[in-house]
């Protein structure tokens, strides 16, 4: 298990390549990547992410450990950035590896649902209409109820 919280960009290709590489006990690897969006109704020039140093790492570790308790996972990776980012830049990734695809998919979705609502990150968008904090979505809160 590896949890990384950093301001600098991460190398998604290299992380994906290295995650669980060459292990014959892991038949299924899932990655999810979150990317800064700017489109249609929302034109974003910069997204800034604030976080709670100390609590962030602890919360992500706890969420990853909970995933490892619920599913049989060979490895788990969570990387999340903070600070300013531009549209198209990768904000974060999770990766899960398991013997079977059901475990890998479910664990990755669980990580994302919990990370969205339980890890102390806050997004602020700067766009044509000024600056605003991104509101939490009802559907993200509702997503927790399925686990």
């Amino acid at each position: 298990m590896r949890i990384v919280v950093q301001e600098t960009p991460f190398d998604f290709g290299a992380e994906a390549e290295a995650f669980g590489a060459g292990r014959g006990d892991l038949g299924a690897v899932v990655t999810f990547t979150g990317v800064v969006r700017s489109e249609g109704d929302r034109s974003v020039s910069v997204m800034e992410i604030e976080h709670y140093p100390g609590m962030t790492e602890a919360a992500l570790t706890e969420i990853a450990q909970e995933a490892a308790r619920r599913w049989t996972l060979g490895d788990v990776l969570v990387i999340h950035r903070y600070g300013p980012m531009k549209p198209g830049e990768r904000i974060m990734m999770v990766a899960t590896a398991s013997a079977h695809r059901k475990d890998a998919f479910e664990a990755a979705e669980f990580l994302m649902d919990y990370l969205k609502s339980r890890a102390p990150f806050w997004k602020r968008e700067v766009g044509a209409d000024g600056e605003s904090w991104v509101s939490a979505k009802d559907e993200d809160v509702a997503a927790l109820t399925r686990w």
Binding site: E50, Y52, I91, M92, K116, S117, R118, F121, A136
Partner: protein, 81 residues
């Protein structure tokens, strides 16, 4: 006790953290004390249903006890990912 503010709570109150001397028994009691201080606190804590709280860096309820606690943080619902 260290009290921390994040995102728009930090912006409304105007500072990211402060040392608060308090006998508040619960988070709710602490919120009442802060609200009574100044307009900017009253504004930030106007609707606690729009807020979340962490006690010693763990998500908590507003009726959580504060005995022995070193750090309390207030912030809006998280929006990571």
């Amino acid at each position: 006790m260290n009290v921390l503010y994040f995102a728009w709570v930090r912006e409304r109150i105007g500072i990211p953290r402060e040392d608060v001397v308090t006998d508040a028994a619960t988070v709710n009691d602490l919120v009442e004390e802060l609200r009574a201080r100044e307009e900017r606190y009253a504004l930030a804590f106007a609707d606690v249903s729009a807020l979340r709280v962490a006690v010693d860096q763990k998500l908590a309820d507003f009726d959580a006890p504060l005995e022995g606690v070193r750090e309390v943080a207030f912030f809006p619902p998280m929006t990571g990912g």
